[in-house]
């Protein structure tokens, strides 16, 4: 595959972003390196219908964006990484851990949390209950309390809303709940499936601001987004998917030179 042979430049980029991220890490409470989530020649689909035709992917520090037109397989690919869609062929690893055949409920214990499309909040539960459900895989009560304090530190707006039902919150606050709940799992890698979907346009910037707060704390984010312009401001590395294959990958600066690609797949 062409994008595998391009790995040389990719490694350089990764080294660069390591340096850049190093500065961020100093201010963050969480230390230590976040493992790389990588996929090699992943094929997957639904029933007889193959969606992914050999995707090779590697997460970078900060925000790795996956763009692509509708039906390109972005969401399916994300779901292979969190175990909801089974992998037909190829491997998925997180650091040294092989996730290829793991179930979603096991993958989360390795430190990967997913925010499904639209945030996936539990509307009938209170904010605090939402956060508690996020920690169901965690046994250590002290760690849970610590993380809850951390969530409220990152999203102080939730402090007064703890007893309120999640459905009563605004779109932006619901996103905070969703991100906070994912933080409760203790994950350091977050898979975000179109977090801006369903948000009012004026809230989109705020939403990306919330993701930035997560990254500032040393988290690694893999972000699927239709709103390419807004997401590019956050991106440290970009993949473009179409028809179940990787069409481009590189730092966002390189993307601006690819006029044809931008127009063809992203409509920019």
């Amino acid at each position: 595959m062409s994008d595998v042979t391009g790995g040389g430049s990719g490694a350089d980029d990764a080294a660069d972003s390591d340096d850049a991220a190093g500065a961020d890490f100093d201010g963050a409470q969480r230390t230590g390196d976040v493992p790389t989530l990588s996929a090699t020649d992943v094929e997957a689909g639904y029933d007889q219908h193959q969606v992914l035709h050999g995707i090779t992917f590697e997460s970078r520090d900060g925000v790795t964006c996956i763009f692509g037109p509708n039906g390109s397989g972005k969401s399916t690919f994300l779901k292979t990484m969190n175990g909801i869609v089974p992998v037909w062929d190829g491997t998925i690893t997180y650091g040294d851990v092989d996730l290829t055949d793991e179930k979603p409920e096991d993958i989360v214990t390795h430190g990967i949390a997913t925010l499904p499309q639209g945030g996936g909040i539990f509307a009938s539960l209170s904010v605090e209950e939402n956060l508690n459900v996020g920690a169901f895989t965690v046994d250590d009560a002290d760690a849970i309390a610590e993380r809850k304090a951390e969530v409220l530190e990152v999203f102080p707006a939730l402090e007064d809303k703890l007893d309120q039902k999640a459905r009563e919150l605004s779109g932006g606050q619901q996103m905070m709940v969703s991100l906070g709940r994912a933080m409760m799992t203790g994950a350091d890698t977050f898979l975000l499936d179109e977090p801006s979907a369903g948000l009012a346009p004026r809230l989109v910037d705020d939403a990306f601001g919330l993701i930035e707060r997560l990254v500032d704390r040393g988290a690694q984010v893999i972000l699927i987004e239709q709103n390419v312009r807004a997401a590019l401001r956050l991106a440290d590395y970009v993949y473009i998917l179409a028809e179940g294959e990787v069409q481009f990958h590189g730092p966002p600066e390189d993307l601006s030179e690819e006029d044809e690609l931008m127009e063809l797949y992203l409509g920019l």
């Binding site: 949390a113 945030g119 996936g120 909040i121 509307a123 009938s124 539960l125 459900v133 895989t137 009563e168």
Partner: protein
């Protein structure tokens, strides 16, 4: 959200005294009001318990089980077959009802809980219908003749009991079962982590899974539990009513009633099925007494369902808790008017 104080919070005094008073009333009921009202009471208790059993899978887990009545019938026939065909005492039939319902529910859960929404509803409905048809042709269930259970006034757990098995006795059995069902629901669904898993998968299954909840397993557990509860009531009902027939205890109306009760009372709430069960059961039983017709309650319930779905989706309990106020009703009316060009 309306600003008026919820009705439930406006009860004067400590809530504990109200619970205590209710407990005393329930315990003294048959002695206070006699055997006719004991019969009404035991029916109400049974239907409240059945509504709660449906509420576990239909309300808390959000899986619309339209074949739930089948487990009530299976419980009844399990007890009936054990007592009639094999001559065992009731307690064996009771145990058999639990085992058969649990095993069948598990086998049914594996394929059907992959389905959602209408597909799950249709699959369970078809299952119930096929079980009813099977009971009508099988010999062991008595076929179209039904089963007549021995009136066993003196054998409970196989040993002689010092009192006559009467309406009063069954009233207390139903009271015990209903209270146990409420307790199990309260502990499992409102207090225990299990309940949050169930509600989480109802609200968003993908999100629940990505947070480490094994949703397939949780769904199966809820389904099996809810079916066993229905079967338990079915077995006691068969023992009490003495004659069981597939067209009776396996009829779709059994499921329908449970659904309506839970819906009217408030889906996914502990106390909803109590209010809904009581209201629907009393309307039905006392229809001929107070409304002058034994079927007049049907259009009445139909109207109530429409009102609930349109104006108070969280049911009676939602109104009592103050979740639905005058503003919400006005808002719903307005939306409805706009939708149908009435305003």
């Amino acid at each position: 959200m309306s600003g008026s104080a919820p009705v439930l919070d406006r009860l004067p005094g400590d809530r504990r005294y109200w619970f205590l008073a209710l407990g005393v009333l329930l315990l003294a009921w048959p002695f206070l009001f006699g055997s006719f009202w004991a019969r009404i009471g035991l029916g109400a208790l049974m239907w409240i318990g059945l509504a709660q059993s449906w509420n576990m899978i239909g309300g808390y887990a959000g899986y619309l089980d339209f074949g739930h009545g089948a487990y009530f019938g299976i419980g009844g026939f399990a007890a009936g077959i054990a007592m009639v065909q094999f001559g065992y005492p009731f307690v064996v039939g009771f145990a058999l009802a639990i085992v058969v319902a649990a095993v069948l529910a598990y086998l049914v859960a594996v394929p059907t809980l992959r389905l959602t929404g209408a597909y799950f509803a249709i699959a369970t409905w078809a299952l119930a219908e096929s079980i009813k048809q099977a009971a009508l042709i099988l010999e062991i269930t008595g076929g179209t003749f039904g089963l007549s259970l021995p009136r066993s006034p003196d054998t409970f757990i196989g040993i002689a009991v010092p009192f006559a098995i009467s309406e009063t006795f069954f009233y207390y059995v139903m009271l015990l079962l209903c209270a146990a069902t409420m307790l199990v629901t309260y502990v499992l669904f409102e207090r225990h982590e299990f309940g949050y898993r169930v509600k989480a998968l109802r609200d968003d299954q993908d999100a629940a899974e990505s947070l480490g909840i094994d949703t397939t397993r949780v769904k199966r557990q809820v389904y099996v539990l809810s079916c066993v509860v229905a079967a338990v009531f079915g077995s006691v009902y068969a023992w009490y009513i003495v004659f069981i027939h597939p067209n009776d205890i396996l009829a779709p109306i059994v499921t329908d009633r449970m659904v309506i009760m839970a819906l009217l009372g408030g889906l996914g709430t502990l106390t909803g099925p109590i209010f809904g069960g009581l209201l629907v059961f009393l309307l039905q039983r006392l229809s001929s007494v107070f409304l002058g017709s034994s079927t007049f309650y049907l259009p009445l319930i139909g109207t109530l369902i429409m009102i609930t779905v349109l104006f108070a989706p969280s049911g009676i309990i939602g109104i009592l808790r103050g979740e639905i106020g005058r503003d919400d009703v006005r808002k719903n009316l307005k939306e409805l008017g706009e939708k149908f060009d009435l305003l």
